[in-house]
Symmetry: C2
């Protein structure tokens, strides 16, 4: 029941040996996703022992080099490592041309299919769904079209009260309906309320990745009450003017968004290389939203399952 985010890069445009460009690897219920793919992402995946073969979907937030330049090397290495499964890339439509131009230089091409899904920018949009999970994109406010991504578990089936089910001799064929929340009518025509038969499932977990953006309160409804929010925090307060000019946020602004949205925890990244020490950024964000951590390279954030009631 893993829901885990590994930070592969925490730098903004200029990477350093300890802070690579933006990338995050997600394991959500044993589905592996990559969000952004800055230069060196494949090296970080190798370092943190995440097998590239398990990644089937990559989400690229926008077409600035520090968010996508690692995708070419990753595609090349996936191919060398024998990949056969299709790889789905969700990103700005121009990225498709860049990828095709790169692949056209490969003397042997690649042995797997790339399915390219262009992003759109008209509000919350479903871009992935399976029986347990949805992923949605939502537009941000940056210098080029940019999306954030929201990963959300679906509500699970209700948990049966085993003892009660047994006492009432409810047949197996009726259990699925009860798990789905329906009441039960027994052989004598007696209605038994679902609440007597089940307990609430765990709260569905959710994570949002808020990539490069100026302060943008329009996203608050999308990320309301989620467990974990990554929000870019390129600058400290002293860089507020520069943040505005370049379409970025300060750590404090990230804290303000987290507070408005009532998230469980905030993690900060995309730090300008002007900050060697990031304590100030954490402190300024914490003045707005206490439960804030730094999303440094190699850190892993797990969202635990919490049963409700």
């Amino acid at each position: 029941m893993t829901f885990s985010i590994t930070i592969l890069g925490s730098s903004s445009a200029l990477p350093t040996p300890s802070r690579f460009s933006t990338a995050q690897a997600l394991n959500v219920l044993e589905r592996f996703f990559l969000i952004d793919c800055g230069e060196g992402t494949q090296i970080q995946l190798n370092k943190y022992k995440i097998r590239t073969a398990r990644i089937n979907h990559i989400f690229i937030s926008h077409l600035h080099g520090d968010h996508f330049l690692g995708i070419f090397g990753l595609i090349s290495s996936m191919n060398l490592l024998g990949r056969k499964l299709p790889l789905c890339i969700h990103g700005p439509f121009k990225l498709k041309d860049l990828i095709n131009a790169f692949i056209s230089t490969m003397d042997r091409g690649i042995n797997f299919e790339i399915i390219f899904e262009p992003l759109h920018y008209n509000g919350l949009e479903l871009i992935y769904e399976d029986e347990k999970l949805t992923i949605e994109s939502f537009p941000l406010r940056h210098r080029v079209p940019t999306c954030g991504f929201l990963f959300r578990e679906k509500t699970r089936l209700r948990n049966l009260k085993g003892k009660v089910i047994k006492e009432l001799n409810i047949p197996i064929k009726s259990l699925q309906s009860i798990k789905e929340g329906n009441d039960y009518t027994d052989v004598d025509g007696r209605l038994i309320n679902n609440k007597q038969l089940t307990i609430d499932p765990p709260k569905p977990r959710a994570y949002a990745f808020v990539s490069d953006t100026a302060k943008n309160p329009t996203i608050v409804p999308y990320i309301n009450n989620i467990d974990l929010l990554y929000h870019e925090a390129t600058y400290a307060d002293e860089g507020k003017k520069r943040a505005k000019e370049t379409g970025h946020s300060t750590a404090r602004q990230a804290g303000e968004i987290a507070k408005k949205a009532g998230v469980g925890k905030l993690i900060l990244g995309h730090f300008s290389n002007r900050y060697k020490n990031l304590d100030l950024l954490q402190k300024e964000a914490q003045e707005e939203f206490k439960n804030t951590e730094l999303a440094l390279d190699g850190k892993v954030f797990d969202i635990e399952i919490i049963g409700v009631k």
Copy 2:
């Protein structure tokens, strides 16, 4: 009088955290060059404290991702760091299109000129020259058009024997001609042989970078007697068949080339990720050519000045 090579990456196609993709930084007489630019090169330059602003020429041996994918991020970072000087890139002509396609995605473009010099493949070709140095390219045998590069100091002016010059009262205006190797005729019409007035200058130093190639003895005349040879050595003896299939060399074959060419020292790189320990590759090369070292990430090879006679 520096002639120094810093290894930035020593891996073949699949980089690892300790062996990045191919790239080398050269300081030849305070001219800074970059040879190849695999993914993460800018991170390595940062790690080894080589300022990107000082690099004015980049040489890309061929269009396989592990030799050029770092160039986009490097161009982007040079721009962010305020570069104004032109940057000259020597590489396969298709690289120009890839670079232009990348730059076209940058919302603010770049603030410096890129001068693109396509490589040719017709033998030894002069691709750079200044008053102290030449750089030549020469074709290799790989799956795609590939060049090696030869960096060679020009012969310096002869060194004056100060004491003799003084005793003979030779006027300053005649010294340049004597340094250039000419004899001197004094005011009495007496001819003085140049050998009496000068000593030989130091031997011009030379370094060759032999990128991806199957064993290729046709390069031997180009690299004859050079001080330092980098030669790819993707495989050990056990991988000889694979080397042939993929257009690569074994370490032993690199040693054979070094021996034939009578170079001063051989350094090996471009190691397959199948070799965690490289001692075997060094040993096999040394069986052919004793003075062989591994060109591991972060190693610096200096070519010292040696006076002749």
